[in-house]
């Protein structure tokens, strides 16, 4: 409704300027605007539909599921489903684990990828183009190609025989480090800018820093700043749009990662794994859900989905104004 009002307003504003012979033109414009508004509203509806529908199902009782007269607004409002989903998901533990994985990896990756992106954007060194081609290659290679060897190497992690040497000194009991089932399997790659979709982030940072005016850095160099100091003092404060964009994407992709997380931490209860197994867990959970109709379980599943995406939604709502308004400035497009 607001949008239609907006177009009416525009129509009125144009009318002041227009002379009476412009009526046909005005009418055409109004119809165009109206159809655009309708298209946008329709598409927004398609996007929001699963969300609204999930929420609507999550707050209805099981008996309402069988009531064909109910589409969106339930007759018997209840929050029981959320409570059940909370216990089935083991929500506090799963949330804590997922938060630890995604937040710390994101923080590290945002920093390490920024360094690499800056290096690629501003400095000339031998083999730079080859290295950047390798960055692009890491984007293209599907994760499944390297996942199995990566998993085996994480099971018995021993880069350059460091762990063997540590074992020889008696610091650790095994001649290797076991990274699986610990946060290290995410923190270590993220620290070395090789976490989830890191190539894309290096690319985004490179594009951003290339578009950054060189004069500021040169001024800093002349005033005696080192490269690192220049980066921290001059570029980082001015790169907030890029950092926001990368932060949001990074945390979302870690949060939603349904592939590497269950593989690297199979015994850790994370939100994706718990939600993925929610249906099978519920049918074996206690005795209450066993043998129940799947449709009767929908409200609980939907409540689980709503619980799962709510932290992301809150983050997005907080950051979205900055995010959507700063895309142009972040220079992703270059």
């Amino acid at each position: 409704m607001q949008i239609i009002k907006a177009f009416k307003h525009q129509f009125g504003a144009n009318r002041k300027k227009a002379d009476s012979r412009m009526w046909a033109y005005m009418l055409a414009k109004f119809i165009a605007n109206l159809s655009i508004a309708l298209i946008l509203i329709g598409l927004s509806y398609i996007i929001l539909y699963p969300l609204i529908y999930s929420i609507s199902q999550a707050v209805r009782t099981q008996s309402d599921m069988y009531d064909t007269t109910i589409i969106f607004i339930p007759k018997h409002f209840t929050l029981e489903n959320f409570k059940t989903a909370w216990t089935v998901l083991d929500f506090p533990t799963a949330l804590k684990n997922t938060f630890n994985i995604s937040f710390w990896s994101t923080i590290l990756q945002v920093c390490s990828c920024a360094l690499a992106g800056y290096g690629f954007a501003r400095f000339k060194f031998r083999g730079k183009n080859l290295l950047f081609f390798l960055v692009l290659l890491t984007i293209i290679v599907p994760p499944s190609t390297i996942m199995a060897p990566l998993y085996t190497s994480f099971r018995q992690f021993d880069p350059l025989y460091v762990a063997t040497a540590m074992n020889a000194f008696g610091w650790i009991s095994e001649p290797y480090l076991e990274l699986t089932d610990s946060l290290w399997s995410f923190i270590l790659p993220a620290f070395f800018a090789s976490g989830l979709k890191s190539g894309l982030f290096v690319f985004v940072y490179r594009q951003f820093f290339q578009g950054f005016p060189k004069e500021l850095e040169e001024a800093a160099y002349i005033d005696g700043c080192g490269s690192m100091k220049t980066f921290l003092r001059i570029l980082v404060p001015n790169a907030v749009p890029a950092f926001t964009t990368v932060f949001l994407f990074c945390i979302v992709w870690y949060w939603n990662d349904y592939y590497t997380v269950p593989m690297f931490v199979p015994n850790m209860d994370t939100l994706p794994s718990m939600l993925g197994n929610m249906h099978s867990n519920m049918t074996t959970y206690g005795g209450a859900f066993r043998g129940m109709d799947t449709i009767a379980l929908y409200p609980i599943l939907r409540a689980g989905i709503v619980l799962y995406i709510s932290p992301l939604l809150i983050t997005f709502i907080i950051l979205q104004r900055k995010f959507t308004e700063s895309i142009a400035r972040s220079g992703i497009v270059g």
């Binding site: 607001q2 177009f7 525009q10 946008l40 398609i46 699963p50 009531d67 064909t68 109910i70 390490s112 690499a116 290096g119 400095f123 000339k124 060194f125 031998r126 730079k128 290295l131 390798l134 960055v135 890491t138 293209i140 599907p142 994760p143 499944s144 190609t145 390297i146 996942m147 199995a148 060897p149 990566l150 085996t152 190497s153 018995q156 880069p159 790659p189 620290f191 070395f192 800018a193 090789s194 980066f231 939603n256 990662d257 349904y258 592939y259 994706p272 939600l275 929610m278 599943l301 989905i305 995406i309 992301l312 939604l313 997005f316 979205q320 959507t324 308004e325 895309i327 142009a328 992703i332």
Partner: protein, 459 residues
């Protein structure tokens, strides 16, 4: 020596100066000529002065010249005599000074007497003192020598190091710093990408048995052969993924450009609508969709047909269109597009984002100009918007391809996963993923080739 030098000088002088001096004397006697100017001239430009003098000489009579010459010779002889006298005087003085330094015999005798009066202890002391002094002097000399030696190489070294410091140019220093910035990524790349990649390649050519660790036995192309000929579903999955991609890419491109243009307009509530359109980026990935799938109602939810509430049912729409008498193929295509609307809308979040960023990069003055020139919206789009957005189309196509192939929900990756997790066929999984990767590379290469061809043709 000095006499000889003087004579030689004199001879030289005679040759060089004679003419000049005669000329000067001429000048002196010439009342019309400005003395000062002549002097400065002879100082600053002797050649020119000599020429002038020669001219003047040529004007004079031979008697005058002879007189001048005689006067000059007399003058020179006087100078010579004075110099000889001075030298003789200096010699005499020097001899006198030497004779003064030599002690007279009487004085010597006096000194000896004084020495004999001294006691032997005193003499010893004096001698010791002298020896010590000599020693000290020797040591001092040695030390200074060493010091100088030390200083010299140190200085040389310093110079060398300075040179080195200067020889590390600003550029090479910067390149080092640049590599330091990239180094963490490079380490990560080696540890977490290159090594696993290599291992995966090894796996794909071997039988892999996984117990504690893994053991590989080389078996040439057996894994590839098995995947391509023995596996019933791999090729089917691959082709279905490819056809899906071929259909989705154009739709996603057109749709996301369309939406981006709409979202770039100014209207009330634009921020809200934009936020809604980026929502799929936040929510769409992975589990939520998988959960829909696991409960078996994904397609139903996506098509909007959920058991009790029919929102838009595609089958009905197809029937309806058929009754209207539309072409069957066209109806089929339209229902297919309608079927995909949900997928397309939910998959094009980032593409919309990229197009929108490109659109915002277009300078508003271009639009103002086209407005002034009276271009229609259609013309403005094709002549201003589209050419400016065109470079992003390539980026978007590549991103869509990579995203579709990298999406863990696609059939091929699911099969690879099951090969790893269910049958533990690491070799087969590696072979399958390498075939998959080569397919992606081939497609992306083809896209780049087509784009190059297009831009080359348009030029």
């Amino acid at each position: 020596m000095s006499k000889q030098v003087e004579q030689m000088n004199n001879e030289n002088l005679e040759a060089q100066v004679e003419v000049t001096e005669i000329a000067e004397e001429v000048v002196e006697r010439d009342p019309d000529y400005n003395k000062k100017i002549a002097a400065t001239l002879s100082r600053q430009n002797p050649k020119r002065a000599r020429e002038i003098a020669k001219e003047r000489l040529a004007q004079m009579s031979p008697e005058q010249i002879a007189a001048l010459r005689a006067a000059k010779i007399a003058k020179l002889e006087a100078i010579k005599a004075a110099a000889l006298a001075a030298e003789a005087e200096a010699e005499r003085l020097r001899m006198e000074a030497i004779s003064k330094k030599q002690l007279s015999d009487e004085q010597k005798a006096q000194l000896v007497e004084q020495l004999s009066q001294l006691s032997p202890e005193q003499l010893d002391a004096v001698r010791e003192n002298r020896a010590a002094k000599a020693e000290r002097d020797a040591r001092l000399a040695e030390l200074t020598e060493v010091k100088n030696e030390k200083k010299a190489p140190a200085k040389a070294k310093k110079k060398a190091s300075n040179k080195k410091k200067h020889s590390i140019s600003y550029e090479s220093k910067q390149s080092f710093v640049g590599f330091m910035f990239v180094l963490p990524w490079f380490i990560g790349f080696l540890l977490f990408f290159a090594v696993p990649c290599f291992q995966s390649l090894m796996f794909s050519f071997s039988n892999v048995s996984v117990f504690d660790g893994y053991a590989c036995t080389w078996n040439n192309f057996d894994n590839y052969k098995e995947i391509l000929t023995g596996d019933a579903i791999f090729l089917k999955n691959l082709t279905s993924t490819l056809t899906n991609l071929a259909i989705n890419v154009p739709i996603i491109l057109i749709f996301s450009l369309f939406v981006a243009v709409l979202l770039n307009r100014k209207f009330k509530g634009r921020g809200l609508v934009r936020a809604i359109f980026f929502l799929p980026v936040i929510v769409t990935t992975g589990v939520v969709m998988t959960t829909f799938n696991s409960t078996g109602d994904a397609s139903a939810v996506m098509a909007g047909n959920v058991g009790n509430g029919v929102l838009f049912e595609v089958a009905n729409a197809a029937e309806f269109l058929g009754e209207l008498g539309l072409n069957e193929k066209l109806t089929e295509y339209m229902t297919m597009v309608a079927d995909r609307i949900f997928d397309v809308v939910w998959d094009s979040g980032i593409q919309i984002l990229l197009f929108l960023a490109a659109l915002q990069g277009i300078s508003p003055s271009l639009y103002e100009a086209s407005d002034v020139e009276g271009a229609t919206a259609w013309e403005t789009f094709w002549l201003i918007t589209f050419p400016n957005v065109a470079p992003i189309i390539l980026v978007n196509i590549v991103y869509t391809i990579v995203d579709t192939f990298g999406d863990t929900d696609n059939a091929v990756l699911k099969q690879i996963n099951s090969l790893v997790n269910v049958t533990f066929n690491f070799g087969g999984a590696a072979a399958a993923s390498w075939i998959f990767f080569l397919t992606i590379m081939a497609i992306i290469g083809a896209v780049f080739g087509i784009f190059k061809l297009l831009t080359w043709k348009s030029q």
